[in-house]
Amino acid sequence: MDRFSWSDGILSAEEQLITQQNGVRIYDGTQKTAFDYGKLVLTSHRVVWKDHKDQKCILTLPLSYVVQIEEEGSTLTKSAKSVLHLSPADPRRPSGPSMSSSFSFIRFSFTEGGQKEFHRTISEAVQRKRWEVRPAQTQAVGSNQKQLRTGISGIEKSIQQKHMDTDRNISQAFEDLSKLMDKAKEMVAISRNISTKLREKQGDITEDETLQFKSYLLSLGIDDPVTRDAFGSSNKYFQELAKQISDVMEQPLKTSGGVMTLSDVYCRLNRARGLELLSPDDLVNACRTMDLLQLPVRLHVFESGVMVLQLRSHSNEATVADTERTVEKSGSLTAEELAKIIGSSVVLSKERLLTAEKLGKLCRDESTEGLRFFPNLLLTKAL
């Protein structure tokens, strides 16, 4: 155990990552150590052990110590182990977990498998003795790893280092991500449990607790029936947001005909914000509360699913009458044509025509030339 040194685990320039394995325990000879559960990393130069819980607890063992490698197969109760027989400790080595040891071998116990692979790779690495092939420059400076490299080989080395750094960063990132996801999964499970209880009225929690629970679901991004029914109305965040949106959008709505599609609103709001943008769901949920809050701006959903914000003062009847008049004046209109005349978007113009049609004011003529609307003479002109 005394051949190990503390380390920061960062690979040197010529060092190559070979393999790694989780769930490894270190034995000092036949005795257990405090290093119970960690990740074993094999490089071309050494073996590194990283504690699972304490990110800063990292041990390193140069491969040059390894004299012989043995294996202990797994049994019903014991995991497979690799036994590394080591040469005597170098008195000049950097400090480690222990100054002396009564054993001249250590064992790695692979509680989560990977022993065979490790055995194969470490045997190869020890044979190759990559640490002995050193370019002349590295001998010079002591502990400073970054050397002045010149020429093409220098550039190549630094590119290689960058790639390795990136690879290492990515694999570390993925690993951390998996751990994070595992925790999130647990919380999702508990949430679903609570939600079921709430729905089956098996658990009575207070009003406050319900609000808190709903906010947790929102934070995690869990879609749950509990959040959907009457959520919007009982949620302060969306109500505040609704007021904000109404304030911001009232003037623009007045200047653009009183109606605007939600995607248009989304763009305007987020362009104005710059940072801390709104999600589409947030926007829709907030707008849904507008009617309830009696704000000057409200949400309207057409049959086609198109969603618009319109001024409360915007009356649908007035729009229909206006549309009817405009169509009559031109004889007939398509959505594109109407859009040009009233200065609105094609999508909105189409909705106007469809609404007017629904109320019987217009008739459609559908052909390959498009959808054209005519005044409904069947209704208006006496036969």
Binding site: D176, L180, I190, G203, S219, L277, P280, V347
Partner: protein
């Protein structure tokens, strides 16, 4: 002898038992909520740590983002649902996708008059890269599809239609049936089809072909070209 216990005493006992059971149930829910609270706090810290270490990774690496999305989907979590959610606030994934959403809407609105609101994913990506400029981070097709998935909520008809190996992005409301998308798939190679091509490749009767093509033309998704011996139906969404 009566098997069932009867009488007021029995009813009282039953009510008592039910009440006790209910209490037990509510106790458990309340306990669980406390447990959840604790976990949420711990998770928030973990997420902060993760964010401080890997924020750059998320910003720069589209594969990492894609992996992240998949993992979230696998555990039943939508990281983009709310800008107030943990994920979007602390990892900054929110702003990235919401901004991309704005840019997608703008590109689509500016081209919809020409292509009827239909364009290929590659085309959209190219236009986005231009409008985003050089200094912005790389975006992948997955990123675009993810942003579009969220834009659907706005009700403007944003959809990604799978076509062969790629997708067509629809940005106006309109129902495209399977027949329509099949024709679009056929058209993908050369950006046009003709009635003859459809008859040969799909084996449909004339009635069916006409009905589908007529709809596509009337919606502005297909243009008629009568200069060739066979009338050709061109799809600007596929060639512009």
């Amino acid at each position: 002898m009566h098997r069932r216990s009867a009488g007021i005493a029995a009813i009282k006992n039953k009510n008592l038992a039910q009440a006790r059971y209910k209490d037990k149930g509510s106790e458990i829910a309340s306990e669980q909520l406390t447990q959840l609270s604790k976990q949420m706090e711990a998770f928030r810290t973990n997420l902060e740590e993760f964010a401080s270490k890997h924020r750059e990774e998320i910003r720069k690496n589209p594969q990492f983002r894609s992996q992240f999305q998949q993992m979230c989907a696998a555990i039943g979590v939508d990281p983009l649902a709310s800008s107030k959610g943990f994920w979007s606030k602390m990892l900054g994934v929110g702003d990235f996708y919401y901004e991309l959403g704005v840019q997608i809407i703008e590109v689509c609105m500016s081209t919809s008059r020409r292509n009827g609101g239909l364009m290929s994913l590659e085309d959209l990506r190219k236009k986005l890269l231009i409008s985003r400029g050089r200094n912005k981070q790389e975006i992948s097709n997955d990123d675009i599809l993810m942003a579009i998935r969220k834009l659907k909520t706005l009700g403007n008809g944003f959809t990604a239609i799978p076509i062969g190996k790629t997708f067509l992005i629809q940005s106006v409301p309109g129902e495209l049936t399977m027949d329509h998308t099949t024709i679009l798939q056929q058209a993908e190679e050369q950006a046009f089809v003709s009635e003859r091509i459809l008859r040969e490749k799909l084996g449909w009767e004339d009635e069916r072909i006409w009905r589908a093509l007529d709809y596509l033309v009337s919606e502005g998704l297909a243009w008629i070209d009568d200069q060739a011996p066979d009338r050709q139906y061109w799809f600007p969404g596929l060639f512009i």
